[in-house]
Amino acid sequence: MFLKKVLASAAVIATVALSTTSALALTVGFSQIGSESGWRAAETTITLQQAKDRGIDLKFADAQQKQENQIKALRSFIAQGVDAIFVAPVVATGWDSVLKEVKEAGIPVILLDRTIDSSDDLYLTAVTSDFIYEGSVAGKWLVDAVDGKECSVVELQGTTGSAPAIERKEGFEQGLAGSNVSIIRSQTADFTRTKGKEVMESFLKAEGGGKNICALYAHNDDMAVGAIQAIKEAGLKPGSDILVVSIDAVPDIFKAMMAGEANATVELTPNMAGPAFDALDAFLKDGTLPPKWIQSESRLYTKDDDLQAIYDQKKDLGY
């Protein structure tokens, strides 16, 4: 009796399994780095969401910040015969041999939000944001906002030597070129709120209690959130006495913008999967080769946007 039941349920499972595979749904393997930051959690949420909306069967593998786990995941994706592989590579090097195996299996690979040092014929395309562009968007916003007046900016840099810190600084300076806006102090605050607050306190003291500072540019929103508190505690109004522009567009900066304490943020979109799926569809349909680099959107948000709506939409993404 028991055996019969087991057999019957096994048969049901088998038919279900057959019917799903026969529906010709695309199967995509996604090797994610792990949960290193709120942004990455949001990226995972959106990738899963995008796959669901498009009826794609997404196999998700969390690498827990280890490259060997990613390589294992890629090999198991080959064994499972997926149609494509998305990788957010944890490091830039050491991918050649496993990507060759993937290539021999005839599976296209798309890199998400980070690139690698291997030759570019080992992957179909890479979807990443352009940090320099993000910085220049922030810089241009500030130039427009002060409208030709002189403006001294203090800058909170990301972790010294990291790519986003170097390139967001470079981009911002490009955005300021030829204007009356200039950077008077620049210091690292390691992308964190605590350091953002501490470094801003020292900026305020060093620049006559903040009287000489017209704007703050932070390489990420978290540092800006910390700095906003420092500005308030010094008795100044962030958002009006000192303009605040930052990058990332995490939910908390929208709260600050709604309170009038921050002025603008440039989004580092967690939706890297959308453009990746588009490129993959086109490639699988008629073999259209995408460019080797697809730049993700870097949108500017200011008080003119519907901040509450964006906040509501973002707050459940896992930031």
């Binding site: 949960s35 709120g38 690292t188 605590t194 501490e198 010094a234 908390d252 896992g318 930031y319």
Partner: protein, 338 residues
């Protein structure tokens, strides 16, 4: 007078670092009252130095027993997360504080049991919680920065009593209370005896096992206070970054303060001065306006100089040199007289 002499190397170092700060930033010693609160760079040093100063108090006692507590940074993250999630789910500030302190106490008991009952070397025993602690904190905050608006808890980080910021009051109070307890009773001496020779102390009737658990508990409590202050300061618990690498700053402060890593004699006041030396260096670097690439190099260079000046080898050389000069002096005097 005698005690002042004992802290002479630390106080001199602090004075020199403060003088350097004054040279790079002339308004360094200017203090005014803004928003009903003392405001100035010197206040920033005392205020920003609070977490390391608190960690130092526990760390000094642990180091005096020949141990080390690497987990304090991670315990800060756990306790900050506990405090934030308590107010987030509707608890008041007292509930948040007590739960955070309880969490710190539990972490301390865990470390203490590993060290004293299981006899695991302290550096390994506390490494476990150092690595796992951030994971625990992540679980509590669910991976995000948990922000809160509870005025009571925020007061702990950025409020003030009699114009003095709360973090300063807390670390000074903890420093005084712990110093009083260990120095006005035999406790301090018993702790030192464990550090010098645990077996001999046990044979002479010191309950080393209980005392060891106790010092790790104190260290956990201090880390809990530091973590709560750090979270209250930014109105959010950041499991990834709260207290990151502060255990190293705390150990450094203890060493700069004149307590040996080999255990035995310890000085809490020296450690607190050490914490202020380190914070003065940090603040000075921020004020100097050097490019951030130089931050760590400058800090390292200053600390190397401090440690070289305090090194026993150099000091014995100096004493040797002084004695030789004194020995040479009398003949020179005689020559003058004749």
């Amino acid at each position: 007078m005698n005690s002042l002499k004992r802290y002479a190397p630390q106080l001199t170092t602090l004075a020199i670092v403060l003088l350097l700060n004054y040279l790079v930033f002339p308004d360094f010693f200017k203090i005014e009252i803004a928003n009903g609160k003392l405001y100035g760079t010197l206040i920033d040093v005392l205020n920003r130095g609070a977490p390391v100063a608190l960690l130092c108090v526990g760390m000094t006692l642990v180091i005096a027993t020949k141990g080390i507590d690497l987990s304090v940074g991670a315990v800060m993250a756990i306790c900050g997360a506990v405090a934030a999630s308590t107010v987030d789910s509707g608890g008041g500030v007292f509930m948040a504080l007590s739960l955070a302190l309880l969490a710190g106490l539990i972490c301390g008991v865990w470390n203490g049991l590993l060290v004293s009952v299981l006899n695991i070397q302290p550096i390994i025993a506390t490494l476990i919680l150092m690595v796992a602690g951030r994971g625990i904190a992540q679980l509590i905050t669910e991976g995000a920065i948990l922000t809160f608006n509870d005025e009571g808890l925020i007061f702990v980080g950025s409020g003030s009593i009699f114009s003095i910021p709360m973090p300063i009051l807390i670390w000074i109070a903890v420093g005084i209370i712990v110093t009083f307890i260990v120095r006005r009773t035999a406790l301090g001496m018993l702790i030192e005896s464990i550090g010098i020779n645990q077996r001999a102390s046990t044979f002479s009737g010191v309950n080393a096992r209980v005392l060891l658990i106790l010092v790790y508990m104190v260290s956990g409590l201090c880390a809990a206070l530091a973590g709560t202050i750090a979270a209250a300061d930014i109105r959010g618990a950041d499991a990834n970054n709260a207290g990151l690498w502060l255990e190293l700053d705390a150990i450094l402060a203890v060493v700069v303060g004149g307590t040996s890593l080999l255990g035995g004699r310890f000085t809490l006041i020296g450690s607190l001065i050490g914490a202020m030396i380190i914070q003065s260096i940090n603040t000075g670097i921020l004020l100097s306006g050097f490019p951030p690439e130089f931050n760590l190099i400058i800090k390292a260079a200053i600390i190397v100089i401090i440690l070289v000046i305090q090194s026993p080898a150099l000091q014995s050389k100096y004493i040797e040199y002084r004695d030789r000069r004194e020995a040479e002096k009398p003949p020179a005097d005689k020559e003058n007289a004749s």
